[in-house]
Symmetry: C2
Subunit: 375 residues, 2 copies
Amino acid sequence: MKFTIKKNIFLENLLYVSKALSSKNLIPILSGIKMELKEEGLYLTATDNDITIQSLIKIENNNIYNIKENGSIVIQGKYIVEIIRKLTEEEINIEVLDGLKILIYTENSEFNLNGMNANEFPKLELEENKQPINLNTKIFKNIINQTSFATSNQETRPILTGINFKIIGNIMECVATDSYRLAKKIIELTTSVEDNINIVIPSKNLIELTKILDNDDDLLQLHIFNNKILIKFNNILFQSRLLNGTYPDTSKLIPDSFNLKIQAKANEFYNVIDRASLLTFDKEKNIVSLEINNNKMIITSNSPEVGRVEEKMIIIKETEENIKISFSAKYMMDALKTLQCENAEILFTGEIKPIILKDPSNDNLIQLILPIRTY
Amino acid sequence: MKFTIKKNIFLENLLYVSKALSSKNLIPILSGIKMELKEEGLYLTATDNDITIQSLIKIENNNIYNIKENGSIVIQGKYIVEIIRKLTEEEINIEVLDGLKILIYTENSEFNLNGMNANEFPKLELEENKQPINLNTKIFKNIINQTSFATSNQETRPILTGINFKIIGNIMECVATDSYRLAKKIIELTTSVEDNINIVIPSKNLIELTKILDNDDDLLQLHIFNNKILIKFNNILFQSRLLNGTYPDTSKLIPDSFNLKIQAKANEFYNVIDRASLLTFDKEKNIVSLEINNNKMIITSNSPEVGRVEEKMIIIKETEENIKISFSAKYMMDALKTLQCENAEILFTGEIKPIILKDPSNDNLIQLILPIRTY
């Protein structure tokens, strides 16, 4: 294997695939990036057995030239990224010697690195589906950002560490919950699926994915299999395992009717909760109390050692009832951050019933928070 | 004590003094900021018994108004900074109740905090000298940045954890060394001192100071005492203890004559060392080897497991000799960062003799690095 490659493109793609490098490093080959030069270009692949990322740098546009021979090698991921990052030249020469040594050089720099045999790298099936689901990249990224924070990070119920994607016809419903709060997003697809889909994707894998997704309107493809999902965009394949098990039925958790419906400026409400959370008694649970009294909302919290805070804000009240209720400031702030509207609609049913947050103008995104009893 | 204060000015000054808050928190009162309202304005003071910072917010310019009563209180530093930061109003009302409770409020927010009695705060003597030394703020900051990194961080020889300031007449010499490298900066003062000065200021305290020093040409004043130094700038007093003991005589460490004198592009040399340091055998010692051969410099290093790197660069050679020498890449990079010139002058006497780095056009700043024997 021997070729010359544009530094910036090489680095960009190394950074994409390095998101899949195993940080635990138990199996040495998984700390490596497989480089494979073929007819169409250079494939870079990394995997930690949980996610696999493969990127193709196409030969076109003179990205790669001076090609002498195709071939493959596995190279230590941590070092190659740092070396390419720190080389200041625009073009970098790569040469593999004996299939086990790799030479990286420019006019004045020469790195001789020990590689690993590409045959030792896991055989990865990155197969595609005949009927992938097409989705706008920005919308998919948004789904993950608006739901993933609500997944559980505890392994006691592994299924709750993932986001549930359910597709019936052309309606995709995405749900995340840690059993104290729930985020639910509904998207209309451009085409319908033939068979219903109901899968759970590990949330941490999707968060890694968002780091390499562009913020644009390009389409990405979801290729869904029994135990894995392949997400294809630009020149990148991102594969994740799926979580086994049945996702709990959350459809009955969201109340149908409410006693109290208010609207509050989302940004102001966030700031009020943020300040109140400075003086919460239990830093872990982060509890603040809310009281609605006519068109006034009063948020209080106190830490016996430090002091007490009381915040007031004016709200728009759409029903008669008043309420006193307590909840986690952190959960409320997490939920508020996902709203992309000026006013948040907040719905209450009772002081031990779920609180709902949403955009007043549509029901596509629902954030649910369970209150906390304080007496 | 009761007054209204502009939020931004209050926050800015709280952040200045909070640099002196004790992070260890062994003595509760040292986690507090003393607020004292007097005729001329509001004094904020914090100390960890090692450094003390006092800031005065003057009443002028309507910074403080609606004053009802002077007084003082100590308030928990961590909380007050966060509360003031998160209040969105431009003006904040402060009121002390019973000398032990503090009320911070705006139109819609009200914080009731437990304070501490100002009488329990350490009595600090922030006295000034009759003949302070005047110095340009930017120049003083530069001295610290160009020397402090070379101080020792080991408590085995405490005196080496400080920067030595020696003033004779109008010449100030600033030296830092950890006994493996040395940084020396010479400054000409605008006026002469009557008595020679020879003090050692803890490096970590000076680094804290640089965080609150402006990058401008305003003058600051050094008020030097037997066991402490007071640095006065803008509306701030910064006091540090001095280190006890005699600073070692370093004047003979810098060779008078050299066998080999070269010039190298400072930035390119930095990049070359940076890349070579990626593959050093011992990450701790970070050793790279340098060879000068006519007008070529070759830098090599190798890590048996990972691989080997060789970097070349063209230099200007001003003497005949060649050399092979090894040194810490980190130390060389630290030293190179302090040079503010395009070309670095590098001087060698032999492979076990100190390496000197400097600006070819002046001797105000000398960086010395001891080589490392590799055989």
